[in-house]
């Protein structure tokens, strides 16, 4: 549904600043109906990437196709029409203060030349879909952040798009509103068969709603894939973002890194090390989360009392399917991440998001 081939966006040099390749050769493919995430530190080019999909930014080079139509081959007029099949939701909502909630949802329909009667009907349906039918006459200033984003989602869906771009759509919201908006996104994705590209720095959001994700760094894709594959890869930089584990450096003793999946649970590792070998095993840190209905985790174990049998035991565990290895400083994925984002902290917890009623992931 979304195909980016070797897309580059270079912003020319400005007074005092050298030219910047915000997006530097990205190839990305999102299948129809997929919920895809783009994560990365601030300044990694995520937002530019979103704007390349609907050509709000024209790429310097490369090819952008949506729904089989090559947008980069179209003239301005063609791009304008093609944008109607791509809805977009923003961090700061970007609703018009001069219009009511209904007026905002009606805006894209007016621009598309839809007749008045049809517009009214569609606006009522959309506000109903996002659960704000009773607020149709409210001005944006009278709505909460979560309600504003719901109106913005209704507006983005008005012209029957096939693709929904979400640029940090939950980053300005409190945890409860974030949950509500994510539930809504999942629901409309399922009900309308949308393809969603979600730009975010909040890993909990990716864990909660995405089927797949890519990690962007300095305008390049450094890692990516289906979350269930990525999280099962011990050295994936993206997995390190999604499931952070503590740093290895500065710790004494034998350290063991365990990657937890449904088929490689940590219990077997703990039984072997603590039970069979009789070693002292402490969990130094890590995280285990439910993603796409399955358990994934990354743990760092601190093991003491090794009498030379540890390496053989680890090899045996590996042969048996467990994802274990000695952790040594320097072998871990570089710690980049969400910590430098200026926006609100990542607070929503994944289990709560998944407990909420909605579409199975």
């Amino acid at each position: 549904m979304i195909e980016l081939s070797d897309v580059r966006k270079v912003f020319p040099a400005r007074r005092g600043a050298a030219e910047v390749a915000a997006v530097d050769g990205v190839t990305l493919s999102v299948a129809a109906g997929e919920f895809a995430g783009v994560v990365g530190p601030s300044g990694s080019g995520k937002s530019t990437l979103a704007r390349l999909v609907n050509l709000l930014e024209r790429p310097t080079s490369g090819r952008v196709a949506v729904d089989g139509q090559v947008l980069t081959d179209l003239d301005d007029d063609g791009v304008r029409r093609a944008r109607r099949s791509v809805g977009m939701v923003f961090q700061h909502f970007n609703l018009l203060d001069s219009r009511t909630a209904a007026g905002n949802v009606e805006h894209p329909l007016e621009l598309a030349g839809v007749g008045r009667v049809e517009r009214r009907r569609r606006v009522a349906d959309l506000l109903d879909l996002v659960g704000l039918a009773d607020r149709h006459a409210s001005r944006p200033a009278q709505l909460s952040g979560g309600q504003k984003q719901r109106v913005a989602i209704a507006r983005a869906l008005a012209a029957h798009p096939k693709v929904l771009l979400c640029d940090e759509a939950t980053s300005a919201l409190d945890p409860a509103s974030t949950t509500g908006v994510l539930d809504l996104l999942r629901r409309v994705r399922a009900e309308l068969g949308l393809t969603v590209l979600l730009i975010t720095h909040e890993m909990a959001v990716v864990r909660a709603v995405c089927d797949s994700a890519v990690l962007l760094e300095s305008g390049r894709v450094v890692d990516g894939g289906r979350l269930t594959d990525v999280l099962a890869r011990p050295h994936s930089p993206l997995a390190a973002q999604l499931l952070p584990a503590p740093a290895v450096a500065g710790r004494d003793g034998d350290l063991v890194r365990v990657t937890v999946t449904d088929s490689a649970p940590e219990g077997r590792v703990l039984r072997t090390l603590a039970g069979e070998l009789g070693l002292d095993v402490e969990v130094a840190g890590g995280s285990v989360e439910t993603v796409a209905g399955r358990r994934f985790g990354r743990l760092l174990l601190s093991v003491t009392g090794d009498d030379g049998r540890l390496d053989a035991a680890l090899q045996r565990l590996r042969d048996g399917g467990s994802l274990v290895e000695r952790a040594v400083p320097g072998d871990e994925p570089p710690a980049i991440g969400a910590h430098d984002e200026p926006a609100t902290a990542e607070q929503p917890s994944a289990p709560r998001l998944l407990d909420a009623p909605g579409v199975p992931l």
């Binding site: 304008r80 029409r81 093609a82 109607r84 809805g87 219009r99 007016e110 621009l111």
Partner: protein
């Protein structure tokens, strides 16, 4: 001093002249100044439709118009006024320099108002597949409307002050009245009454403009 029965009708006529000049000049100023302000805004570098050369030329013209003292403008445009109206004396003739003086003023105010509209709203509308003129029509102008109304109010008040100045060279209206009856005939009481009248008109307009702008603001 008991000649007020003779003066009062003339004062009323002068007030009517002032309102006529300022009223017509306001309409013309809005008709020219708002589009000029829009053009200034959208042609700026990085704006909706960047035309750096056009932007610079327009900016220069507007600055020129604004830096010229109004009394000089009055004299300078006299030939233009004669060409359009046929004379340079009287209320109708004064409308020409009034409009020319107020257009650059309003254009700058309009530009400032439109620049206040968040670029995110423009971007969201472009993402809907809007044409640039749709963005001006459905986003920039409606979103800036409260601020535009405030700008027009300030312009009307400036026009009243210009119109009083135009009175000095035979433009008619309250300014003319204050000079001919109050100043030249040493009738301070007439000057004071005229000033009070002007003050009342300005206050009333400012109050109405503020009220209207507040009603339009939904933030």
């Amino acid at each position: 001093m008991n000649d007020w029965s003779r003066i009062a009708p003339q004062l009323a006529e002068a007030t009517g002249d002032t309102l006529y000049m300022v009223g017509v000049a306001t309409v013309l100023t809005v008709l020219i100044g708002v589009p000029l302000g829009v053009l200034l805004t959208v042609t700026a570098p990085g704006a909706l439709s960047p035309r750096p050369m056009l932007h610079r030329v327009l900016g220069l013209l507007v600055n020129l118009g604004r830096s010229l003292p109004f009394i000089i403008l009055l004299v300078l445009v006299a030939p233009v006024t004669r060409a359009i109206v046929g004379t340079t004396i009287g209320s109708t003739a004064t409308i020409v320099p009034l409009t020319l003086g107020a257009v650059p003023f309003l254009a700058r105010l309009v530009e400032t108002s439109l620049r206040e509209v968040s670029p995110g709203k423009v971007e969201a509308t472009l993402a809907m597949g809007a044409r640039r003129r749709d963005v001006v029509r459905t986003v920039l102008l409606p979103e800036a409307l409260p601020s535009l109304v405030a700008g027009v109010t300030v312009t009307v008040v400036a026009l009243i002050s210009y119109s009083a100045m135009a009175g000095a060279i035979g433009g008619g209206g309250l300014g003319d009245f204050a000079i001919r009856y109050g100043y030249q005939q040493f009738r301070t009481d007439i000057t004071v009454v005229t000033v009070v009248l002007l003050l009342a008109v300005v206050q009333l307009l400012q109050w109405a403009g503020d009220r209207w702008a507040r009603r339009l603001a939904h933030v």
